[in-house]
């Protein structure tokens, strides 16, 4: 008898839980690690009485695979420029319906950021989220490191005779782009000889660590002297350090010529809830929400109104916070072909051969 009662109770409990859940709509979001404030997410859930199922990946390529696999019906994803174009060309994206984004009318995108996507064929498939560059995060405890970076720029990272401990992003696009930029080539080159030069440069550099989000932590911990990172990685850590009142022993170097990237919300064809996906995007076009989110994430927002508040009121007045200052040269990654992507991936694997 006791067992029967217990079994019934368990059954009742399960059903009541299931009932709770089924009342709420579910939104599946695919994003990078540490790229959205969970409090802002919770606010969205509360405001719209929905549940957000949130998945994190470490690269654009991993994001692409997740969307192609379609094992989770993602409603919103946040890839970068070239990946948005690739997904669009593979017919994996729904165009964004601007009539479902009322907040769009009350915000302006920063001119320099808008120029990146405005005239692109993928502009109708995305709403920009954050933008930034790649550069070098370095530990400032050793004056020789600062000297080397100020004198050589990207060269400090690639110097084969360097005695500094250096880390490289384990992302074929970004690693090879840094090498190409140092050599003075276009980041989108398909020239075999230029790519071969970049490969040799990466190989001879003999990096101590190939990583992703861990690079910034190891630079700050002093296990690396410098590493290639995204600009936002620096701000993320800078404001975390200021908040904890830790001494800031690291800095970011943005070269005169580097790439500029822009990440945007997209709605993959896997989406089951297109309207809610738009509601989600609209939520992040709200200035207050995006200010709160930007403060946590650390990357540079694309909305002018948000950017102004960050700089004027919240102390984000660091000169490198704006990723595309007047007088600098910035390249944007382009999707060339799947074969080209595989070629880049092969290069970054080959440079690790003994």
């Amino acid at each position: 008898m006791k067992k029967l009662v217990l079994a019934l109770l368990v059954l009742l409990f399960t059903f009541s839980l299931a009932a709770c859940r089924s009342e709420q709509e579910v939104l599946y979001v695919l994003n990078w690690g540490e790229y959205m404030d969970e409090d802002v997410l919770a606010l969205f859930e509360e405001t719209h009485n929905v549940r957000v199922v949130y998945t994190e990946v470490g690269s654009n390529e991993a994001m692409e695979v997740q969307i192609r696999l379609n094992t989770t019906p993602f409603d919103v994803a946040i890839p970068s420029d070239y990946m948005i174009d690739k997904l669009r060309q593979s017919n994996l994206l729904h165009p964004i319906d601007h009539s479902l984004l009322p907040n769009l009318a009350s915000v302006n995108f920063i001119d320099r950021a808008r120029l990146i996507f405005e005239d692109e064929p993928w502009a109708d498939y995305m709403i920009p989220y954050f933008w930034g560059t790649i550069g070098i995060l370095y530990n400032t405890s050793n004056p020789a490191v600062i000297e080397a970076i100020e004198a050589e720029g990207f060269g400090a990272l690639f110097n084969p005779n360097s005695t500094f401990r250096r880390g490289m992003y384990d992302s074929p696009r970004d690693a090879i782009a840094a090498a190409l930029l140092h050599l003075g080539y276009n980041v989108n080159t398909t020239s075999e000889s230029e790519l071969a030069e970049a490969e040799a440069l990466l190989r001879n550099a003999n990096f101590d660590l190939f990583g992703e989000d861990n690079l910034k932590r190891e630079v700050i911990a002093g296990n690396l002297d410098m590493a290639l990172v995204y600009s936002g990685d620096y701000f993320d850590e800078l404001f975390a350090a200021e908040e904890d009142e830790r001494e800031v022993t690291f800095n970011f170097y943005a070269p005169q010529t580097t790439n500029v990237w822009i990440d945007g919300f997209v709605i993959p064809t896997t989406a089951q809830n297109i309207e809610l996906a738009h509601t989600f995007i609209n939520f992040f076009l709200d200035v207050d929400n995006q200010v709160a989110n930007s403060e946590w994430v650390g990357y540079t927002p694309v909305i002018q109104e948000v950017f102004d508040i960050m700089v004027n009121d919240l102390g984000f007045d660091d000169p490198v916070y704006f990723p595309y200052p007047e007088g600098t040269t910035r390249y944007v990654f382009r999707f060339i072909s799947q074969q080209h992507d595989q070629k880049l991936s092969d290069i970054l694997n080959r440079v690790r051969l003994p």
Partner: protein, 271 residues
Amino acid sequence: MKKLRALSFPYVMWMSLTIVLPMALILLVAFSDLNIFRLGSFTFTLEGFSVLRSPVITTAIRNSFRFAFIVTALCFLIGYPVAYLLARSTSRHKTLFVTFLILPVWSNMLLRIVAWERLFFPNSILNMFGISLNLIGTDLAIIIGMISMYLPFMIFPIYSVLDKMDQALIEAAIDLGASRVKTFFKVTLPLSFGGVVSGVIMTMLPAMTAFALPARLSGGRTLLIGNIIEDYFMRTANFNAGSIVSLVMMVLMIVLYLWILRFDKEGETLI
């Protein structure tokens, strides 16, 4: 008995669903140009196998075998004496010792990998004791990490065989005039071979396919075949090439497995 056989039906179904079907898919994708994301017509081709000529893949396969052999050998050299002492121990704390050996296996493997990673960096908690290991990126880091992960899997099969071994056989050998050393090599060791074979299989196979461990402990500098397969499936979405490499690894491991089994004449393997 026949009635009981019906009970195995769910298990057989489950097995075919989760093992046989995926294997068939891997075979199909490896030997054809089928696009797994856009199922449609396809042709059988061996073209994809040209990826095996890539130095990245041959090096990764070589690395995987090298680390698996070194780690298995060291696990055996460390594990056998431990298992022997444990089995022969008459201490009333014997169960406690065994528990201590199992304990690490209960914590998440990724957690243990990250713990080693933290210790192997030049700046770590060990600096308090004036030690700075700076092992990240070395082969030694991978070997130490792997041994710590897989050692229990070597010890336990050997321990359980030694523990159950008939003591009368050893007494008989000694009574008949064999020295302790000779008894060990002529009686104990051959009788525990089943356990050794299980231990070798349970250590070598996971060591060969590890990918999170080498990725973290080598600082992303040493590629094992597990990393290549992960790359194909999770980053370049090249399922055909990924399947081919997986298939080759499976065939190599089956060959190795059959070769190891030949040493186990009694067929006493625990698996």
